[in-house]
Symmetry: C3
Subunit: 112 residues, 3 copies
């Protein structure tokens, strides 16, 4: 099974819940989760900024094989560069399209 | 691919993100999105009221072929009439059933 | 059709909307909904506590056949026991895995 976690809120509690959920999916003892993806967009982009509060959690998830994608559309609207994002975070043209694509491929959807 | 955006929060930022996401899906340059639907219910109904702050955005989405459905159950509970909603907004008996039906038809789900 | 309602927010309005949506799905007049499940985790666990504000609603849903699952991982992190939860609420090792499993089985996903 595969899961995409969609982080698009500016609420820090929701952002942290999103990262914790991704971690819990990775560590599932029943080993039924094959792949975990995170897509960040809108205010959720704060989660993957180099100057954010969640740097350690995101870097650990990246090291453990979680694919983290950030919305380029959001970067443009917020006047951010890819260099403002943690190394290893990919960009996609539009986060909502990426979330659609992943569900179309069979990923379950979780919105923290 | 097809996507349903579910707007059911009273949070104005979330409502606006929902409409922006629908717009971004429509304008996807890779042209992989065939259909975008919006279902509003609970406090999210404010998004499609004639006296709301998002009239222009919703009217533009309707003109561009987005199907916008409002929950009749919510209308009844809030003492609203169909005439309180923007022209072109359809009603469905229950928003949650409509969102279930669309996912059952293969729509991806996005919750702003 | 089948639907899982995912309650993981500490926001009381969202928790109540989640329970109301489950009720509305049950009472769907078109009778197209065969099964409704609720998964609670993180701050959403408050919804199923014996000392919560939503005891009556949750007990009525349980009586009407809704399967309500609480995340054991959350219980541990919050120092709660199963006896702190309403009778009839099941526990699952990890809420996010359960929500993934249900979607993998064909359940639609609703996040209040």
């Amino acid at each position: 099974m595969q899961t995409v976690v969609h982080i698009l809120s500016g609420d820090e509690a929701e952002q942290q819940t999103g990262l914790a959920i991704a971690r819990n999916l990775l560590e599932d003892e029943t080993d039924r989760i094959d792949d975990v993806a995170i897509v960040v967009q809108a205010e959720g982009i704060a989660t993957v900024r180099t100057d954010g509060d969640t740097v350690d959690d995101v870097e650990a998830l990246l090291e453990d094989g979680v694919e983290v994608s950030a919305c380029s559309n959001t970067l443009e609207m917020m006047d951010l560069e890819e260099s403002d994002l943690l190394e290893g975070v990919e960009t996609v043209p539009e986060g909502a399209v990426e979330v659609t694509r992943l569900q179309d491929e069979g990923y379950a959807y979780l919105r923290p």
